[in-house]
Amino acid sequence: MDLSGKSYKAFLERQEALKKQYSPKQAEKQHSKGKLTAHERINLLFDSGTFEEIDTFVTPADQPVEFGKVERTYGDGVIVGHGKINGRLVFAYAQDFTIMGGSLGVVHSKKIAKIQEMALKMGSPIIGMMDSGGARIQDGVASLSGYASIFHNIIHSSGIIPQISVIMGPAAGGAVYSPALMDFVFMVNHTSYMFVTGPNVVKEVLNEDVTFDQLGGAEIHARKSGVAHMIYEDEENTILALKKFLSYLPSNNVENPPVVPDDGSVPDICEKLRDIVPDDPNKAYDVKDVIHLVVDRNSFFETAELYAPSLVTGFARLKGKTIGVVANQPKVLAGVLDIDSSVKGARFIRFCDAFNIPILTFEDVPGFLPGVDQEHAGIIKHGAKLLFAYSEATVPKITIILRKAYGGAFIVMNSKNLGGDFSFAWPSAEIAVMGPDGAVAILYRKELAESKNPAALKKELVKKYRDKIANPFIADESGYIDEVIDPAVTRKKVISALSALSNKWVRVPSRKHGNMPL
């Protein structure tokens, strides 16, 4: 074909200029920081040859006021477009740090808003890969309103399409609210940061020395603030994990989650489950051992693993179908519910509910964490979030009581009268208003005080309490749980319960929205 015509000449020149803009030298600079370029990230994420970029050649707006220099570049520091991930349509934007530090100018923000609106129209997930110095100072208030429209779009799409952000460089100031509003946040260790005010400002205002990593690194957000849900050691692992993660999620809130063909390799009856909960009620075990044996092999994808680890949350598959798992972790602080774990659980449950993902709860909880700290910090209102989320959720909800189910925590963890569909208990379950020691101390205070051998009497009474009250059989016989089951058949029970619930529908009273205790 002859491309020497005049119109083609301009076309080719532009192509050539674009190539120059994304030169190997620029890539090398990004690599030297341990980071990939925006294009490389996009290529890793999408099935090869499926990504279609749009607005490739848009250029930054002219400045109303002359202040600083704006590079006339194509694309304005962000790549937007759509493509297929594991064969499914997904929209994405990736900020390009090599162009004006990925700063968010007006055109940049308009590109993002455009792709957000498309994703919502199409009912497809959207992924934002952040690597940006922040608002473009030269663009002034226009850049700020750019942020506002991006935020507004996220909130508008919230609960309709899954929105996931991946932090692959700095995200500072207003920019941090994009990921905070989205459903899940991935971060790359050591090369990504998020903070509202950076170390320099902290130093100026508070005279505190703090490094980028200490203030807003991936570890901090995964462990302490809970802002990041998944963190990885490098970008490739982050993107590979993100692809895997997406496979659990539906495209929107009308569809059901995708299904993986079940190879039938996991037996429905697993005798190993009988050996996990120790005979000694005060001994810990790892609830993830239970989860792994109940769900499809290697299908458990834990979310927010490092944050509030006394509650485990994550996605898994049962016979190939996505479920959300919420489990008390006896290995960490006896599986107690505190402020952080309540909030973590509540947010996860609400995501599952929005996207039609059934919730499977494993319960072994001694109660809410007592203490001045927790009370003053508002465990009442934060605990209420978990309660609210469980009760509000209309997706299928199944609970397995493994061991302890005491007091308020029993109520909160998806009890039947809170709207739980099925409640099963293992024979090791202890369902009661409070634990044996506390109950005995209250009910037999006088007898214990008068006894010559209070320790022996207490031991005897505790045993009696366990035999008579703190067991699953009373609850079973009075219908507060559905069945006491052999741990070995747990998987089978859950599969058939879910199959019975697959067409579950609950009419929610019509209202603008509930008033969650935030």
Binding site: N86, G87, R88, N237, L240, A241, K243, K244, S247, P250, S251, N253, V254, E255, N256, P257, P258, V259, V260, P261, D275, N298, N356, S502, N503, W505, V508
Partner: protein, 501 residues
């Protein structure tokens, strides 16, 4: 045979071991089922099982004297075999058995008492002119006395618990300044472990070999020895590998040490099986350390080179029979090595690694003997010791025994917990072990690495890690999701869902 029914006051491999011999002798056995391991292997070797699972105590029944006497009475057992550990060296238990007309298969309560108390044992040895490390006459009451004694015999010295064993209450002191602190630590530790704070002092023998002699005596005053065992491969006073005979002894030294071992046993009118422990220094001088008044874990190596069943002898002696052989009838033939395969994590300092044994398979070569109380499905519980099995091999000489050991070790297959196998695989390849010049300091001082892996094993493990990574992350069909399937929905649900929005 007077003895008709033996109560086995023990568990695990030694219970199995005793019952195997009892069966050959046509003597019935009673085993006790505990709540700790109600499905244990030893139960299947017993003629009768006493079910004690209802007893919900934290202390194993094997330590409960009253209960054991009661069980013997209830089951009609006329003898008790205590095995090793638990009550095997408890004079009070032995006496209690005799008082209740039950034969205690072991030495007399008097011998148990005298040899159980290290200061009394020292005095007896001293009286019998048995070579011994210099030390205090009796117990030491305070640091000042300790320093005085230490000055007299010269540093380094070792503080030991009078009622002790197994390394607890032991401290090595190299200079006077350390005495004050370590003396009280040792004494406190002894009190905590043995209910007896008394300690004594001995000259500390640097880097000795641990040599012990197997003794057999009957109730008619005959005492012989069955040669020595070398148990220098130990860690924190826990033996890991034992062999018989020892390459450090020639016939002359063997004869001399054996004579001394018999002599000390005679001093307490010893009968049944027992072990006299010596330290042997680099000048081939030996020192009496203590006497163990029980059958020992490592007894099989002696059995393999003498052809004598020690459990059978214990039962016959308890039955009042005379020994059938004299000292000159004992011939030591070939070489035997025992490896204690324990559920321990060699890579983290031999920490116990309790767990369930998922699969277990042992070599069946003619030169191998396996003593075990564990089968697939058995749990290694924290309440008991961490032994999985004893792998005992024989060869015509030490070289062949080591070669056979190496072969056998590669065939042992255990899944479920970490084991001491990698340690032994390293040991049989170690030159110092091969040439026999190792001492009790071998593990702590001479070893840099506690386990063996061939250079290819790590590569294979790396290959597996890479394969797993590919399967989880890179393989196209690792995420074989059917996105269309999610769109198929029953009209009931789809309708309702659409109408909601």
């Amino acid at each position: 045979m007077k003895i008709k029914k033996i109560l086995i006051a023990n568990r695990g491999e030694i219970a199995v071991r005793i019952m195997k011999t009892a069966r050959l002798m046509k003597v019935e056995t009673v085993a006790i089922k505990t709540s700790f391991e109600p499905g244990a292997m030893y139960l299947s070797y017993a003629d009768h099982i006493y079910d004690n699972t209802e007893e919900g105590t934290d202390i194993p029944v094997f330590l409960d004297i009253e209960k054991l006497i009661l069980i013997a009475g209830r089951t009609g057992a006329d003898a008790v075999h205590p095995g090793y550990g638990f009550l095997a060296e408890n004079a009070y238990f032995a006496q209690k058995c005799i008082d209740n007309n039950i034969i205690f298969i072991g030495p007399s309560p008097d011998a148990l008492y005298k040899m159980g108390n290290k200061t009394i044992a020292r005095r007896i040895a001293l009286r019998g002119c048995i070579p011994m490390a210099l030390g205090s006459e009796g117990n030491i009451s305070d640091e000042e006395e300790a320093i005085a004694v230490a000055e007299k015999i010269g540093y380094p010295v070792i503080i030991k618990a009078a009622s002790g064993g197994g390394g607890r209450g032991m401290r090595i002191i190299r200079k006077a300044e350390e005495m004050e602190r370590l003396f009280s630590i040792a004494s406190k530790e002894a009190e905590k472990a043995f209910n007896d704070p008394s300690v004594f002092i001995e000259k500390y023998i640097e880097n000795p070999k641990h040599i012990e002699f197997q003794i057999l005596g009957d109730t008619h005053g005959n005492i012989i020895h069955l040669g020595e065992r070398e148990c220098s491969i130990q860690r924190k006073h826990q033996k890991l590998l034992e062999e018989a005979p020892s390459c450090a002894l020639d016939d002359k030294l063997r004869h001399e040490m054996g004579r001394m071992a018999v002599k000390i046993a005679k001093a307490v009118n010893y009968y049944s099986a027992g072990t006299v422990e010596f330290l042997l220094d680099s000048d081939k001088k030996f020192y009496f350390m203590e006497m163990n008044t029980r059958i020992q874990v490592e007894h099989p190596v002696t059995e393999l080179i003498t052809g004598i069943d020690l459990i059978e002898q214990q039962i016959r002696i308890a039955n009042g029979e005379k020994l059938k052989f004299r000292q000159e009838d004992i011939r030591l033939e070939g070489w035997a090595i025992e490896c204690r395969i324990n559920a321990e994590d060699v890579q983290s300092g031999f920490a116990p690694d309790p767990g369930k044994i998922e699969s277990l398979s042992m070599p069946a070569d003619p030169f191998v003997r396996i003593d075990t109380g564990i089968q697939p499905g058995s749990a290694i519980v924290a309440s008991f010791d961490s032994m999985i099995a004893k792998l005992i091999v024989k060869g015509k000489d030490r070289k062949e025994a080591i070669k056979n050991c190496k072969k056998a070790l590669d065939k042992v297959w255990i899944k479920g917990t970490k084991t001491t196998l990698p340690f032994f695989r390293m040991l049989v390849r170690n030159l110092k072990f091969q040439d026999g010049t190792f001492t009790t300091a071998f593990i702590e001082k001479d070893l840099e690495k506690y386990y063996y892996n061939s250079e290819y094993e790590e590569m294979l493990a790396a290959w597996l890690a890479t394969k797993l990574f590919i399967e989880e992350n890179l393989k196209e069909d690792s995420i074989n999701v059917d996105f269309e399937n999610g769109k198929e929905m029953s009209p009931w649900l789809l309708n309702k869902r659409m109408n909601q929005f």
